[in-house]
């Protein structure tokens, strides 16, 4: 017996105590700083992270740009409150509902509180009340009789008459930035957009809003949604998963083991192994400062079945052998000798599969892979010590009547229906070996086609089940509004033009003045253009000179002539304000129109919408005036008119004050990555076919885009990680079997399993999303296990019998039964994940079960069939003893 196991068998009680103390320490290590952070500042408390943004590292360029743009355009994360009233014929536009909406918006303004920052300074958190978008907080520009325009709150006070209520709708729907955003396209519903200081306050804000909404007794239904809300909810559901599904899986595994082994006290041992492995791994995760993220929350559910897997092999073998040997110590000795090598190798391959995830570019996936690998290794160490130790601690009499065929059947091979069934399977695989191989190859071919049909797609909102309140709200609002998924297209002019271009601009403008003063300054400009360091430098020099000349003028006419040259200089300087140019604005307008026509975008908002709306209302609200004016001065004056409103700062959410950057705010009805990808492609192809009138670059940001970006990285990263670990496992197998042919044979069931699983995913149209991507590593780690066990045992048996027919018969005895029991225990054991309220966990549950079943089937049918066909080369004569 190997030294580790023999040590455990000699001092079983010490090992059990050590495991107990280890678990207790791990729990204490996490509980102490989490419950009393002040008392243990040197320890890491439990940190939960439900932000999908963190799928990308904090310094990832996509994310850095996202945060820079958010800051530059003062865009905040939003809580969205949709208000729908189906009981009233005018929807929400009645005095009661609008009165409630008014009250809700007023209340939302007060959801603020102070917290103390780490440096001791107070910081205000909660709702950013100045940026709330609600009927009572936005301006309406409109005609006010006698050729007057008016900026007025859309809903300054709660409406007193039904007419006033309807008027809110009429006025809002005239304003493109509000229509389909604040008021639904069908004119029946309203959505409030409540910006918050940071995502992590959304729970408190939403709770306060729900409290206020509960006071209303109208017919309206309120939907609270938005990505921050979804994330908070995700955190809640994540813990539900860990608290309900994982223990349920454990209970089911326990029941199944009881069905197979019928000894309650014996099957407690794999449970102990699983518990200690999970506690150890999660404890280590938290204690080393990693967050419990959507990915890392799945670690227990992955570690548990793998932890049980080896224990089931030991128990299965023990169960089969004990009736013959009738001595627990000797039986353990025998079992461990037989299983040591396959268990070690299955552990190494599983660890390899998961550890390969460390090479993906997604930090949470790296953490997940590494810690599952650690958990698997821990489980192995515990299995080879605790299981034998536990058996030794049980009195010998506890085993009376234990084991297969113990109740007096003549031969264990014939004892049970399971044994008879597996022998039948073995006989079939050997007799019809060619047919079996052909069937598997055909399956692989179909799977190959299926893989080409795979659609790579994900959407964090769809991580909730279809009838979850988040999904219900998502559907309700996206049916009625332009869309709740925000993506932003940043348009930027390149860095400043050089002094030369500025000198040309100045020359043109001064020449058109045609005054002696302008002529004088133009001459100076020509003299200066060569030695000016920059455009700003040139301007500053000329400005100083012209100001001196102006201030020295005694005559009014001279003074104004010089003032005009200064005006010309200022105009030249302003030529860099790219997004005041009518040409550029029309380009954006056409891009918006094009995006509308593609049907991919629910709605877009840009600075052009503001320009057109104000321009229209300056011209008596006539529809033909709903256009971009023809000069940059006219654009500027339209925009300054807008800035005479209650919310001038809204302009700078669409364009920067220097008019060098603008943003196209897109509302999408779907957060699916494929849809985002199509929009990106549409914009790219538009820009190629329609080059902008000035040099403008475009780039994306916004959470919908971030999700798209990390998935792109994930897919390519996963493919690399998978191929890398596939090669490593193949090398390991070749080393283990000291034969490339045997190495390839071991890889066969795994290849079939992964091929068929992904083929099915492609054929049934299930999106290749985050959990599906992670599954490739899992199947690599699990599917190889059965092949290792089967192949190692077949070789051992062949050495004993020297003949394939007898070997095959023996292999379908205990080894096949161990594999079968494993498939059932773990395959069924994952089913409780279907009860999880989050789709990724359900996906994992279904596919792990499918992977295990397939891997089992492939191992028990394909492997013996191939062995039959190639028996001469796989079992050369000299190996026979």
């Amino acid at each position: 017996m190997n030294p580790i196991t023999s040590s455990a068998v000699s001092r079983p009680a010490s090992y059990m105590w050590a495991a107990a103390i280890f678990s207790f320490l791990m729990i204490a290590l996490v509980a102490a700083p989490s419950l009393a952070p002040k008392a243990f500042p040197f320890l890491q408390p439990l940190k939960v992270d439900t932000d999908p943004e963190n799928m990308l590292a904090a310094d990832e360029p996509v994310r850095v740009f996202h945060n820079e743009m958010k800051a530059e355009f003062t865009l905040h994360d939003l809580v969205v409150v949709g208000v729908i009233n189906e009981a009233h014929e005018e929807g929400v536009f009645n005095t009661d509902t609008l009165g409630d909406v008014y009250a809700l918006a007023e209340f939302a303004k007060t959801i603020r509180w102070d917290v103390e920052r780490e440096d001791g300074e107070p910081e205000q958190r909660g709702v950013i009340n100045i940026d709330i978008i609600a009927p009572s907080t936005v301006d309406s520009i409109e005609q006010a009789g006698l050729g007057s325009v008016r900026f007025d709150w859309l809903l300054p006070t709660p409406p007193e008459t039904e007419e006033q209520a309807l008027n809110v709708r009429t006025r809002a729907m005239r304003i493109p930035t509000l229509n389909d955003t604040l008021v639904s396209g069908d004119g029946a519903a309203i959505a409030l957009y409540i910006p918050i200081t940071s995502k992590d306050v959304s729970f408190r804000v939403a709770k306060a809003l729900r409290g206020k909404i509960a006071e209303f007794d109208g017919d309206a239904v309120y939907y609270i949604t938005g990505l921050p809300i979804a994330q908070d909810q995700f955190g809640v559901e994540m813990f539900k998963q860990m608290a309900i599904s994982a223990p349920a899986a454990m209970a089911l595994i326990f029941v199944l083991m009881w069905v197979f082994f019928r000894r309650l006290n014996l099957i407690v041992s794999p449970m102990i192994v699983a518990m200690v492995s999970v506690i150890g791994t999660m404890g280590l995760l938290v204690a080393t400062g990693y967050t419990v993220h959507i990915m890392s929350s799945m670690i227990p559910i992955f570690v548990m079945p793998i932890a049980v897997l080896d224990a089931v092999h030991i128990l299965s073998d023990f169960y089969d052998r004990y009736p013959k040997i009738k001595d627990r110590r000797k039986t353990i000795d025998h079992v461990m000798k037989e299983l040591w090598q396959p268990m070690l190798f299955t552990t190494v391959t599983t660890c390899t599969g998961f550890a390969s995830l460390a090479f993906t570019p997604i930090p949470p996936v790296q953490v997940f892979g590494i810690f599952v690998a650690i958990g698997v290794f821990l489980a192995w160490a515990l299995t080879v010590t605790l299981i034998p130790a536990y058996i030794m601690l049980m009195p010998e009499r506890a085993f009376s009547g234990f084991g297969m065929g113990a109740r007096g059947a003549a031969s264990d091979h014939e004892a049970t229906p399971l044994a008879r069934f597996l022998h039948g399977v073995g006989a079939f695989a050997v007799a019809r070996s060619k047919l079996v191989v052909v069937i598997f190859l055909a399956a692989l071919a179909v799977a190959g086609y299926g893989i080409t049909q795979i659609r790579i797609n994900d959407n964090p909102v769809k991580w909730f089940t279809p009838n979850h309140e988040i999904r219900v709200a998502d559907r309700a609002l996206n049916e009625r509004f332009g869309g709740t998924y925000m993506a932003y297209l940043a348009l930027s002019a390149p860095q400043e033009d050089g002094a030369e271009a500025m000198a040309d601009e100045i020359d043109t403008r001064l020449a058109s003045l045609a005054t002696p003063a302008a002529q004088t300054l133009a001459n100076q400009a020509r003299a200066q253009r060569k030695n000016a360091a920059s455009a700003d430098d040139l301007l500053a020099k000329l400005r100083t000179s012209a100001e001196a000349a102006r201030d020295a003028s005694s005559e009014d006419d001279d003074w104004y002539a010089w003032d005009d040259t200064l005006l010309a200089l200022d105009a030249a300087a302003q030529s860099s304000a790219v997004f005041k140019s009518p040409e550029v604005l029309r380009y954006i307008e056409n891009l918006q129109r094009y995006l509308d026509e593609t049907g991919l975008v629910g709605k877009s908002n840009t600075v052009t919408d503001i320009v057109k709306t104000v321009h229209r209302d300056l011209y008596l609200g006539e529809e033909e005036a709903f256009r971009i004016p023809d000069t940059r001065e006219a654009v500027a004056q339209t925009l300054i008119t807008f800035q005479n409103s209650h919310r001038p700062q809204d302009l700078f959410k669409l364009v920067t004050p220097d008019y060098r950057k603008a943003v196209v705010w897109l509302q999408l009805k779907s957060g699916d990555n494929v849809d985002m990808g199509e929009v990106i492609e549409a914009v790219d192809s538009y820009v190629i076919e329609n080059p902008p009138p000035q040099a403008i670059s475009h780039d994306w940001f916004g959470l919908t885009y971030i999700n798209f970006a990390w998935q792109q990285k994930m897919v390519s990263g996963m493919a690399r990680a998978f191929l890398g670990s596939f090669v490593i496992v193949l090398i390991l197998m070749t080393v283990l079997f000291r034969s490339f042919a045997w190495g390839l044979l071991a890889m066969a069931p795994l290849t079939i399993t992964i091929g068929v699983i992904y083929g099915v995913i492609g054929l049934i149209g299930k999106d290749y999303d985050m959990p599906v991507a992670v599954l490739s590593s899992l199947s690599l780690g699990l599917a190889i296990d059965y092949a290792i066990h089967f192949n190692v045992r077949s070789r051992q048996l062949h050495r004993k019998f020297g003949d394939w027919a007898q070997t095959a018969k023996a292999a379908f005895g205990e080894p096949a039964r161990a594999i079968f029991r494993n498939v059932v225990v773990i395959g069924v054991g994952f089913m409780p994940l279907l009860l999880a309220p989050l789709v990724p966990y359900q996906t994992v549950g279904v596919f792990i079960s499918a992977i295990l079943v397939l891997a089992g089937v492939a191992t028990l049918l394909l492997t013996p069939a191939v062995m039959t066909i190639f028996q001469k080369s796989l079992f050369p004569e000299r190996s026979v003893k």
Partner: protein
């Protein structure tokens, strides 16, 4: 509070720092609070019978990004009555793309002001409907009402404190629905009656908007605010205004304060 510029008498630089809370609130020199507020309004908005100033406005947003506006402002008091009818003519010169944009206000003591806007690039004179005057003045942190002055009769005033240098007056609106603040507090300089600081409070009693007169000079013998700023914590940032070429009692003709002159600026009076 552009008109604070156009005011004046006496050479004092008013310090806004640390008022001394030593004196008894009854020491008001025998004036009731309404009188103090009216005198402050007159000192801030009605100095001389008319006036002119060139204003440089610097709008700094929460990210420290600057936008500027340069304009000349002409004012006349109709009949030279303090706290009475007034007219303003504001002509923008910079940035270049809003050059010659003009703005005319007929301020009425007891009704809403009449306002017109001329947009030269669109060749359009627009009347701005009499409504809310607490909207931004050309994108700055100042409101229209800060520029033209809030009538002393629109609020209820309480003299909260009298310090060595200031009357501290707390004012609450008579019509709370028409304004965004719950109250405001004014530090009125005792010697000049110039309001040197105003704080606006929201319903929670927190200051969100602060006006400060940052520089006062004596021009034509009148104490005149030549630097002021308005900060707003809700949107962040602040707007600073500095006043040059201040002159009083120029005998500005009444007719330049009319719609006709919006298209043709009265150059002679503007330089």
């Amino acid at each position: 509070m552009i008109k604070q510029t156009l005011i004046a008498i006496g050479a004092i630089v008013v310090s806004t720092s640390a008022p001394v809370y030593a004196q008894d609130a009854s020491d008001t020199g025998g004036q009731d609070v309404q009188t103090i507020v009216e005198r402050a309004s007159a000192a801030a908005y009605y100095q001389g019978k008319d006036g002119r100033a060139s204003v440089h406005m610097s709008i700094l947003d929460s990210q420290g990004r600057e936008r500027t506006r340069d304009f000349t402002i002409l004012r006349t008091d109709v009949g030279d009555v303090d706290n009475g009818e007034q007219r303003f003519y504001v002509l923008f010169s910079r940035p270049a793309d809003i050059s010659k944009m003009a703005f005319l206000v007929w301020k009425h003591a007891d009704t809403n002001d009449d306002r017109w806007l001329y947009l030269p690039a669109l060749d359009l004179v627009k009347r701005i409907a009499p409504s809310d005057e607490r909207t931004s003045f050309v994108g700055s942190h100042f409101f229209y009402e800060d520029v033209s002055g809030r009538g002393p009769n629109e609020d209820n005033h309480v003299l909260e404190e009298v310090t060595d240098a200031y009357y501290v007056v707390n004012s609450t609106p008579k019509d709370p629905d028409s304004v965004e603040f719950a109250s405001y507090k004014n530090w009125i300089h005792k010697a000049t009656f110039i309001p040197v600081k105003t704080e606006y409070y929201d319903a929670a009693g927190e200051v969100y908007r602060t006006y400060t007169a940052s520089a006062v000079e004596t021009i034509d013998g009148r104490p005149t605010v030549v630097g002021s700023k308005m900060a707003d914590t809700r949107i962040g940032g602040e707007t600073r205004m500095s006043y040059g070429d201040v002159a009083y009692d120029l005998d500005l003709p009444d007719d330049i304060f009319s719609e006709r002159y919006l298209r043709n600026p009265p150059r002679r009076h503007l330089r």
